[in-house]
């Protein structure tokens, strides 16, 4: 097969005035603008571009389209580029994959010699013993992995996404698809026409001048109608409710853009894919499909060989023969399968066809064999819509059977006909699509609160009145009397399939998984029907009985970059976050929030807070504004303790449980006025507690009058803690009565602070110090923060971060839900039994807690976990959080450390942990197994608080 550029042709898509340089395996070559990588390589007489996966046989181009199984090349840092489809660009660095050491001299080709032993599934039968050697074998096998190389330094380029709501999406820009798009648009629908190739026209692109004139005319009509035409774009999937994914590679400045279209109607006009023929030597370079030859000659002006045999069963083969003749290739034999002609083998060197054996046993010298034996309907998008294709033996292909009525198929997928008939069917399909889309639009608009009101009654759902396209007779040509390759990318032959079926892998799905046929990069676009046909033959069944494997998304592979798009992950910031970072805070990712972890020295932050006054930004604290007469009832329901008597100005702590009694969240709620409460939740529980409250109000207690409004972002929260906090707050809120007798621990006031109205100030203290938590309208939060820093200068004010707060709360023995408790910790285990009020009529989780509290089985009781404080006997050892508590010298787990720190205040290690009740008595000595394997002892404390257990500082 000697290839070369032909003289200029009327339909070519290349621009011979523009030379495009590129390199092939380091060698400098050039092609023309408009070439694909593949056509340029062939024009340069480069034919062998890859080696087959298992046997490393030399391979060349067959179909010259995206699905060409042997054409995956490395281009720069991009692996697996479809070179028969991808347009050549200046400077492309193209190289072969899956070859060693080079595409022309491949040592692994020795595999070919032992081919008869490397049958499908051979690895299941080998390397079994000794097992110790398998990892070694595995490493060797892995070097056979096909595919290109990933450059791990590849930058994330510019990928993008958008949504769309077209009335009609048309997949496929051949004549049928174009006609459908035109008629739908003419009927008033908004239409998106998507074509996988670089240009519209489908198979007409490699047809004659009159074909192209029609394409030009239809293209102009599409422009005039304002149809959104996307070329070099693929409809990659159809999901529930016509959620359509489109990979657009032609948007300026964007590598790949994912369009998510909610189409009212999807029209599938994907055309047909040409099927290879199974016979001996069918993977040898020089065997091509008729469509491949026609593209090569007519679109790229490349001569595919010099002496050709053409095996034809249809027009496409006849036309290919004519095209070859016109290009000066001598067609030494036109074998007509419609008249019983056939081909049984090609012979030649491993890298070149030299002769063709015909069914009658005679041979022809030739360097090119062209086959035109039929089509595969790429029904993939229809299958994704729930349709199962059915087989028509007389037409020798699968057809759609019953797609949902929002998905319509047209063109070659549904039948055959003249160009006029195809266009006619497409036109009728477009009209039907538009009419159905109008009904769907009516429904959407009439049920959407924000939409315009609709006029008149809902139109009827249009029934399908299209005249069907005929199924043209086609011989069932799948396999010759010889065996050959069925799956070229996976190197699976018909012989492998027969053997696998005989072994019991004789349903199409098992056959696929055992042999990997159809699992390669083209996903069965070329191989499915031949696989099924060979299995049917092996089982003595019909193709219809055997059925096909399932096509799944995507229709064509889509880049991970395209699926990801711009990488944007929501981030929440408090009004002071910039200040924190400007003042040396180490940022801490806490869910969606970014928070200050510490400003350099957490221990010093603790000491300063305990000694002077510290301020911490606790803005992420969940905050809910509750209003309405039934708020106390709601609180009684959600929390385990009682709320009816909370006075105005009072604040109370509560624990929330789920219905299984497991602790869900905790926090304080204060009563700001008669009718208005402010509830706080943990930072991570903010959203879920809000939804939880709404859930109870809307579904179980719909008669209660409570309005819940999330105000987490509305108020920034600053905790001012330490013995001098009263002094500092006093300076900023001169009108606020801070007298400890009148503004007591666990009370709340609304006040003007630093000139900011409507601040909520409550006296509570997670840190265990005298402290005031100020919830300030967020727009003034930075102002307040700066004023606290400024006005507190002489008091020694300093900011503290999350780490210092964690230390202080641990010193004080406050547990953290989700850290000191877990998904099984019921409320009584927290040591907060006093907060569980079983005499309330109802609260969430009550029955489980009742049974928990009533249970008197000593075996159960003694093993129930309890949250306790622990101190190591050696005060300098801080056991890592999650260190296990074990019984004595055994390995029996009796609990674990849930929190631990070195206390800057006490100068010793302190812990909280969960431990079985039987070991939880104060004074017990228990064993901690450190993560380094050492065992140390620790004493269970009487109080959770290691520091100021009576709370004198807090209340002072």
């Amino acid at each position: 097969m000697s290839t070369s550029r032909l003289s200029a042709r009327s339909g070519e898509v290349i621009d011979r005035t523009k030379t495009v340089p590129f390199t092939w395996n380091g060698r400098s070559l050039s092609g023309y603008d408009g070439d694909t990588i593949g056509s340029a390589l062939l024009a340069n007489n480069v034919r062998i571009v890859s080696r087959s996966m298992k046997y490393h046989r030399p391979r060349s181009y067959m179909s010259m389209d995206y699905w060409d199984p042997n054409a995956l090349l490395q281009v720069g840092d991009e692996p697996n580029v479809r070179s028969a489809h991808r347009r050549l660009e200046s400077g492309m660095d193209v190289s072969a994959q899956n070859v060693w050491p080079s595409v022309d001299r491949d040592i692994k080709a020795a595999n070919g010699l032992v081919g008869r032993f490397l049958t499908a599934g051979f690895y299941y039968k080998t390397f079994i013993n000794p097992q110790r050697l398998w990892p070694l074998y595995e490493k060797v096998l892995a070097t056979f992995a096909p595919g290109g190389k990933v450059d791990l330094d590849t930058p994330h380029g510019y990928y993008d996404k958008r949504y769309a709501h077209p009335d009609v999406v048309v997949a496929g820009g051949g004549p049928a698809g174009m006609a459908a798009a035109i008629s739908a648009a003419e009927a008033g629908a908004s239409v998106m026409l998507v074509e996988h190739e670089y240009g519209l026209g489908g198979h007409l692109r490699w047809g004659d001048d009159s074909d192209r004139a029609i394409v030009a005319e239809m293209s102009q009509r599409l422009i005039d109608l304002g149809v959104e035409v996307l070329v070099d774009s693929t409809v990659t999937g159809r999901y529930d409710d016509n959620w359509i994914s489109i990979a657009q590679r032609s948007h300026p400045g964007v590598i790949e853009r994912l369009i998510k279209a909610r189409a009212k109607i999807l029209v599938v006009a994907a055309g047909l894919i040409e099927r290879p023929y199974v016979f001996s030597g069918n993977d040898k370079p020089g065997v091509m499909l008729s469509g491949g030859v026609r593209r090569l000659v007519n679109m790229y002006g490349v001569r595919p060989g010099s002496r050709a045999v053409v095996l034809t069963a249809n027009e496409s083969g006849d036309q290919a023969a004519a095209d070859l003749e016109a290009a000066g290739v001598s067609v030494v034999e036109l074998v007509d399968a419609r008249n019983g002609g056939g081909v049984t083998a090609v012979e030649g060197s491993p890298s070149q066809v030299e002769s063709v054996t015909l069914a009658d046993g005679s041979t022809r010298e030739a360097d090119l064999l062209v086959t035109a034996v039929g089509w595969t309907a790429p029904t993939s998008l229809l299958n994704m819509s729930g349709d199962r294709p059915s087989y028509d033996a007389s037409a020798a292909r699968f057809f759609p059977s019953a797609p949902p009525d929002t998905v319509l198929a047209t063109g070659g997928m549904v039948g055959d006909g003249t160009l006029d008939e195809l266009v006619g069917h497409g036109t009728a399909t477009g009209q039907l699509a538009a009419a159905r889309a109008a009904v769907t639009a009516y429904r959407l608009q009439s049920t959407t609160a924000r939409a315009l009101p609709v006029d008149g009654p809902e139109p009827d759902w249009p029934s399908d009145q299209r005249a069907p396209l005929a199924h043209r007779q086609h011989p069932e040509l799948y396999r010759s009397s010889t065996h050959g390759m069925v799956d070229f990318s996976e190197d699976v032959s018909s012989k492998d399939l027969v053997a696998a079926a005989a072994e019991g892998f004789d349903s199409v799905e098992l056959l696929k998984r055992f042999t990997t046929a159809t699992m390669g990069p083209s996903q069965g676009k070329l191989e499915t029907v031949n696989t099924v046909a060979v299995l049917a033959e092996a089982r003595g069944e019909t193709i219809e009985q055997v059925g096909t494997t399932v096509w799944r998304p995507p229709y064509a592979p889509i880049s991970l970059g395209g699926l990801a798009g711009r990488i944007f992950e929501p981030v929440r910031r408090s009004p002071m976050q910039d200040w924190h970072e400007a003042h040396g805070a180490t940022p801490l990712v806490a869910g969606a929030w970014i928070r200050p972890d510490h400003y350099g020295d957490a221990a010093e932050e603790v000491r300063n807070t305990r000694r002077n006054v510290g301020i911490i930004d606790v803005s992420p604290l969940g905050k809910l504004d509750l209003q309405g007469p039934d708020v106390p009832q709601l609180l009684n329901l959600l929390y385990t303790n009682k709320w009816s008597k909370l006075p105005v100005g009072g604040v109370r702590y509560g624990i929330m449980c789920a219905e299984d009694g497991v602790v869900l969240d905790d926090g304080v709620t204060g009563r700001l006025s008669d009718n208005r409460y402010l509830m706080t939740t943990t930072s991570s529980g903010a959203a879920s507690v809000w939804e939880w409250a709404e859930n109870w109000l809307q579904t179980e207690r719909p008669s209660w009058k409570v309005d819940v409004t999330p105000v987490t972002g509305a108020y920034a929260s600053i905790n001012v803690a330490g013995p001098k906090s009263r002094e500092l707050i006093g300076r900023l809120a001169p009108e606020l009565d801070l007298d400890p007798e009148r503004f007591k621990y666990m009370q709340v006031r609304t006040a003007t602070v630093a000139g900011v109205d409507n601040c909520v100030v409550w006296r509570i203290g997670f840190t265990g110090e005298l402290s005031y938590e100020v919830h300030v309208p967020a727009g003034y939060a930075l102002h307040l923060w700066l004023q606290l820093m400024e006005q507190g200068l002489d008091l020694g004010v300093a900011p503290f971060g999350i780490e210092a707060q964690r230390i202080m709360r641990l010193e004080k023995g406050h547990f953290i839900v989700g850290q000191d408790t877990d998904g099984l910790t019921k409320a009584p285990s927290t040591g907060m039994g006093a907060l569980i009020k079983m005499d309330k009529e109802d609260f969430v989780g009550k029955p489980e807690l009742a049974w928990e509290l009533e249970n008197s089985d000593p075996d159960v009781l003694k093993r129930r976990p309890a949250v306790v404080a622990l101190q190591t006997l050696d005060p300098q050892i801080v056991p890592e959080e999650a260190s296990q508590l074990v019984r004595g010298t055994t390995t029996e787990i009796i609990g674990r450390i849930t929190s631990s720190r070195m206390s800057p205040t006490l100068g010793r290690s302190i812990c909280l942990g969960q431990i079985e009740q039987q070991y939880a008595d104060a004074g017990n000595i228990v064993t901690i197994l450190l993560t380094d394997g050492r065992r140390i002892e620790a004493e269970v404390q009487a109080h959770h608080a290691h520091y100021d257990p009576e709370g004198e500082r807090l209340r002072g």
Binding site: E78, K125, G147, V150, T154, I558, G561, D822, A882
Partner: protein, 441 residues
């Protein structure tokens, strides 16, 4: 324990299966002859000692161990489609034993042990690749949970430890371990014995071996009803009843023992016996890329980003994520899954943006409230369950088969599965894996 090698026994047909070996392969290759069927295709009979519903790894392993460990061979495994068509043929094949609770650890560790000797026990290369398993932690809470798991694991002699970003980078160079990542990698639970396995080979291996001992495998045989007598519910089904057989698409079978090994369909089968389960069915999706040269040496899981990834010896990346957001028996899959997946994978491994997703698919998962299975007896006598496998049940196949077989043969609940009994729900004693629920496969 009985001799588990295939050499010693003959199957119900009186014919031994031909042993797989390189030598056999060579001989067959030279002679150009085919291997015999891996399992027989025989007509369904009308009575068996036990009927196992579901030809996934759990059903087939149960049948295999019934035969090999207990000599109970008059057993039918029925599947409505082909073997492995459920979760067993769709999973991402991650095997590990670093669970959170001692019960869980002991159980999965036994499974790993069985996986380790499976190739020679079943005489098939299941390609168990012990390549190491990393569960990444992106915040201090997650690091704490990882350490919790590591510490429990160590006490059970499981190789499992928490490692830091530098070591992670050494093990998996493609990961972004810098601290300016949106979700910085702060550490990982590293479990060297974890890895991946060729899931289909496991299914086929059990099927072939079970068949060899006389078990019958009936594909395309759908169970339509379960025959129960004397129960408290309508039609005599439900608690207090006794199983007498099953109705299938190929006819009725009488059998005193019926085992529900149907994973995603478990509730439907149980309801045929009048039993309610604490299970909801959710699809779990997975996807593969086109193959590229091998660059990812270990299994990487990120609980907070809900993705996991490994690379097969064929070079594809295999991905998974969290279960779908609503109950569903439909495995069509969604675009949201692939979008989220790609976004999160690129956060972890920014260099793979040019790789292409080749195929996505889904399987059904039988989710329980405490991330633990439901195993053993039910209130209907003779009706047993081995279900509730959620997103993690493939790795449990061997040990589940072994213990379920023991349960059936001895009529007693083996200790390893006692914590997983159905009555833990009415009794309110859930299993501790819920304690720090995190995805992990």
């Amino acid at each position: 324990m009985a001799d588990r090698s295939l050499r010693s026994r003959r199957n119900g047909n009186g014919k031994g299966p031909e042993r797989y070996s390189a030598w056999g392969l060579l001989r067959k290759g030279l002679a150009q002859e085919n291997w015999p069927r891996a399992w027989r295709e025989v007509p369904l009979r009308d009575t068996y000692d036990a009927v196992i519903i579901g030809g996934g790894v759990h059903g087939l392993a149960t049948a295999y161990y019934l035969a090999v460990n207990h000599g109970i061979t008059n057993v039918a495994v029925v599947d409505k489609a082909y073997i492995g068509s459920g979760g067993s043929g769709r999973n991402t094949a991650i095997v590990r034993s670093n669970y959170l609770t001692p019960e869980g650890v002991a159980f999965y560790d036994r499974s790993l042990e069985l996986y380790n000797s499976m190739a020679s026990d079943l005489n098939i290369n299941v390609m168990f690749s012990e390549r190491g398993h990393l569960t990444l932690a992106h915040n201090d809470g997650a690091v704490r949970t990882m350490r919790w798991r590591a510490e429990v694991n160590k006490l059970q002699n499981i190789d499992s430890s928490v490692i830091g970003p530098d070591e992670i980078k050494k093990l998996v160079p493609s990961l972004d371990t810098t601290s300016d990542a949106r979700y910085p990698i702060m550490g990982a639970l590293y479990h060297p014995p974890g890895g991946i396995i060729r899931h289909d080979a496991v299914v086929w291996g059990y099927a072939r071996a079970a068949d060899h001992y006389g078990v019958e495998i009936h594909q395309k045989t759908e169970v339509l009803d379960i025959l129960v007598e004397g129960g408290s519910g309508p039609d005599g089904k439900g608690p207090g009843g006794k199983v007498t057989g099953v109705r299938t698409s190929k006819g009725d079978i009488s059998a005193p023992i019926v085992v529900n090994c149907t994973a995603g369909w478990a509730s439907l089968i149980a309801s045929m016996a009048g039993i309610k389960l604490p299970i909801h069915t959710r699809p779990l999706q997975a996807a593969v890329t086109e193959p590229v040269k091998v660059f990812l040496p270990a299994v990487v899981v990120s609980g907070s980003l809900h993705v996991y990834v490994s690379q097969t010896d064929r070079g594809e990346l295999v991905f998974g994520a969290a279960v779908d957001p609503f109950n569903n028996y439909n495995i069509a899959g969604s675009l949201d899954f692939t979008e989220g997946l790609a976004g999160h994978i690129l956060e972890l491994m920014p260099g793979v943006s040019k790789m292409r997703l080749l195929r996505q698919w889904a399987g059904l998962c039988d989710m329980t409230p405490d991330y633990s299975p439901v195993m053993g007896f039910t209130p209907v006598e003779g009706f047993l369950c081995d279900v509730g496998w959620g997103t993690y049940g493939f790795k449990a196949g061997p040990v589940s088969g072994e213990t379920m077989a023991e349960c059936i043969a001895t009529n007693q609940t083996p200790k390893l599965i006692a914590p997983f009994a159905l009555d833990r729900f009415p009794e309110g004693t859930l299993v501790g894996e819920k304690g720090a629920a995190s995805v992990g496969h």
